[in-house]
Amino acid sequence: MASLNLLILVCLGYVVLLFLVAFAADRFAAQGAGARWLRSPLVYTLSLSIYCTAWTFYGAVGYAARSGLEFVTIYLGPSLVMMAWWWGLRKLVRVGRSQRVTSIADLISSRYGKSNLLAIGVTVLAVIGVTPYIALQLQSITLSFSIFAEADPNGTYSAERSVFWVAAGLAVFAILFGTRNLDANERHHGVVTAVALEAVVKLVALVAVGIFVVWGLAGGIGATLDRIDASKIGQWQVESGRWATITFLSAAAFLCLPRMFQVMVVENVDERHLRIASWAFPLYLLIMSLFVVPIAAVGLDIMPEGANPDLFVLTVPLSQGQETLAMLSFLGGFSSATSMVIVAAMALSTMVSNHIVMPIWLNSREGGASVSGDVRNVVLMARRISIAVVMAFGYFYYTLSGGGAALAAIGLVSFGGIAQILPAMLGGLFWRGATRTGALAGLTVGFGLWVYTMLLPNLGGGVMPQIWLTEGPLGIGWLRPTALFGIEGLDPTVHAVLWSMGLNTLFFCAASLVSFPSPLERLQGAQFVNVFEHSAGPRGWTGSVAQSEDLMIMSQRILGGEEARALFLREARRQGARGHLPDPTPGFLERLERELSGSVGAAAAHAMIGQIVGGSSVSVEDLWAVADETAQMLEYSNQLEAKSDELSRTAKKLRDANEKLTHISLQKDAFLSQVSHELRTPMTSIRAFSEILRDTDGLADEDKTRYAAIIHGEAQRLTRLLDDLLDLSVLESGQVSLNTGAGNLGDVLDHSVSTALAGWDTPLQVQRRRTDEDVPLETDLDRLAQVFINLIANAQKYCDAERPGLQIVVQQTPDFLHVDFVDNGSGIPEDAQQMVFEKFARVSTEKAGGAGLGLAICREIMQRLGGDVSYLRGRGGGAFRVSLPAALSLAAQ
């Protein structure tokens, strides 16, 4: 037989293990390591199993032994909620996350305009409702201890003393676990991980006992089924009223129990986990319930008459000498109790300290808290004291109720009380018309009726005079707690739930309809009911990104879409974030606030950012409305600004156009003036000599001939000038059509040289290398020849060497074909080298044959052909290079 000391040792060892797990998980969470595992849906699902307390671990078997299959309802309620109402849970989780809710009291209070009265009410209700539940855990641990103690021959075991120490131990345990530090989000990775571990222990223990019972004792599945049929479990009738009621109660409790809310909503790190939990958690419950009936049936069969069926899970293995199995089973029960107590105490202490202790403490201090460390210590102390008080309540409830009631009965009382929160919660989530007054009315009525019809009658022990139950208070029959308004014959639980929940819902709806919500309530109502329209999808469910999105939306309204996006993108790049949303780091928030304050003023900007990041009492929607108004004004002023911008842009365009026109006009004037000069000059000679010829008698014949020749020459000069002008005009306007043909560079040069030098008495010596000139061309050969002729003629006209000579050099590069024309004269002075390509540019007046348009035309032609003509410096004499793109020459190769 295991000694009690060994048992205590095992318990302590187990607790130390839990501590280590919790501590490690906290460390990992803080370092960000192993975050994927800590935040996995598996841990989330397992943590939900704190729904299975010692009541379900031990009590289900007892329940089955007493009431047959009714125990299934306890599993049915939550399973239905998880499977069929998954979307509703998602909304609850979304609201909880987006509103940064820390507890169910916080949720209700937040929904109904941050009403502290409601928060206190829910907290009180929760404390009173959960107290029997905690007493239940104390009872189960004490009972399981006593089983081992009774079996220990040396033990001096006292149930009274042990229950106190168990309560104290659990309190210390919960304090150490739950209030080691303060987390802004009220998240406890360590605790959740430890709870998940305990969930595994529970399951393994119960399944192990079940397997032992079915295959070790009963002798297989068939034999077990026979035993079940033989036992009275098989004869229990299913009572539909109780079934429906208890299924409803367990479903309601699953949603409203503070500890469930804690793990399901507050500790939820990813909304998507719900999807997996929606089937995984019912599966867990199914496995938990699988062996309940076999254990109950076999227990009833083999255990002596009068043995407590609540403890069959322990006593059956013990009676068979399976000490290790019994020890495992004990640990399973211990796990169930401790995990429930820790989380429940944590959740309750959060509520008590946030909604009762802190407001009182803050009010008692003039001017509020000034030192944050101060507040921190006070909060932690308030939590610790709250846990102690909650545990003390549980202890007193246990001693008061005498510890006699069956586990399941106590559990149902608790469920009934907690379920009173349901109408206010669901109404708040789905009905915008729900008001604070309605919630208060419903809660008060429901709570009162629950206390009167369920809690007090179940306390027994003289808390409620016995005569009330039979005759009604003051002898008024229709006030009997178990037969209100004369409705008799109902099961007490069904009766109590029907009345309390029914009137609760009725009052909640009625009072909501006749009362008017405050603006804050209205806004919060919209936020809750339309949470999916306002908050980010599952992707944004790490809190920080959701905040960034809110910040982004707000900034867009204030700064304008593009500017806000640019600002956020810049910041995201700066942070090295992959998406387009930066993390809301303090630095970024400060910059954003500065940016926003430029638009809406410092106070408004601070309030807006504070709202989204810090959570003040004004809703996001409210601020959006403000932002919208500001944005409208801004847009208006932006429009004005845009208009004025546009005007000044147009004005500038006009100015530019005008300048351009003026410039063109000046150029045109200069050009016309030049043209006029160039035309008038030959005309002057023509007129003068023609008048001389006309008016002068007796001119010598040779003079006549000479003067006629001058007139002829000048007339030709005029024609050339007009030809050049027309040519240039066509080239410049781009209307020239190129007459592309294939040919050979050498041939073009031959033609050009002979044309350019024709008619000169002393043509210059042209030096060529024919071998280099054998280049096929594909271009406008006539135009190219025109350029060559012009250059050769220029050399002929202007080369001032004693024996004028011209060298034509052909070079090919990958990109260009160069044809250089280099004469042996003195060349063009440096300051005139660029000018020569301008219109009417002439370096020297002597021997001027043209109007100075030749090189301008050459340049135009070459640019049309895709090449260029340029002056080459440092080649000794005047040197021009004609460049053709290689493509034009090589294309023909």
């Binding site: 003036s673 006029s676 000069h677 160039e678 008038r680 000059t681 030959p682 005309m683 002057t684 000679s685 023509i686 007129r687 003068a688 000599f689 008048e691 001389i692 008016d695 002068t696 001058i710 020459g713 000048e714 020297s844 007046t845």
Partner: protein, 126 residues
């Protein structure tokens, strides 16, 4: 006493035409086709009349006229300006610079000779 004229012009054919006309009318003609040293040439020749082109290499006719009017004894020397740029502002500039007569090319021979005789007569009367 022979009448002397200095012709500053850079177009060979025009020089020949004007030289023919003036010589026939009994003028002694000295020509020069570079603007740069035209003032010195005129000063040295000290003629009865100057015929001046505007578009000249080296220095344009307007500047030559201005500089000439600065020189003592040349303030009222008759200067006939012949230019192929006959715009109103050119005429204005020329008058400002102190031109005696402004004519645009192409000109009629008779007009030029009338102007030359007219200018010479005015100068002789003073």
């Amino acid at each position: 006493m022979s009448r002397r004229v200095v012709l500053i012009e850079d177009e060979p054919n025009i020089i020949e035409a004007i030289r023919f006309l003036l010589t026939r009318d009994g003028w002694q003609v000295e020509t020069h086709s570079d603007g740069a040293d035209a003032v010195e040439v005129i000063r040295a020749a000290n003629p009865d009349l100057v015929i001046l082109d505007v578009m000249l290499p080296g220095k344009n006719g307007m500047d030559i006229l201005k500089d000439l009017r600065e020189i003592e004894g040349f303030e009222t020397l008759p200067v006939l300006m012949l230019t192929a740029r006959g715009q109103a502002k050119d005429r204005e500039m020329a008058e400002k610079a102190g031109v005696s007569r402004f004519m645009t090319k192409p000109f009629s021979n008779a007009e030029v000779m009338d102007a030359v005789r007219d200018l010479h007569a005015q100068a002789s009367q003073q």
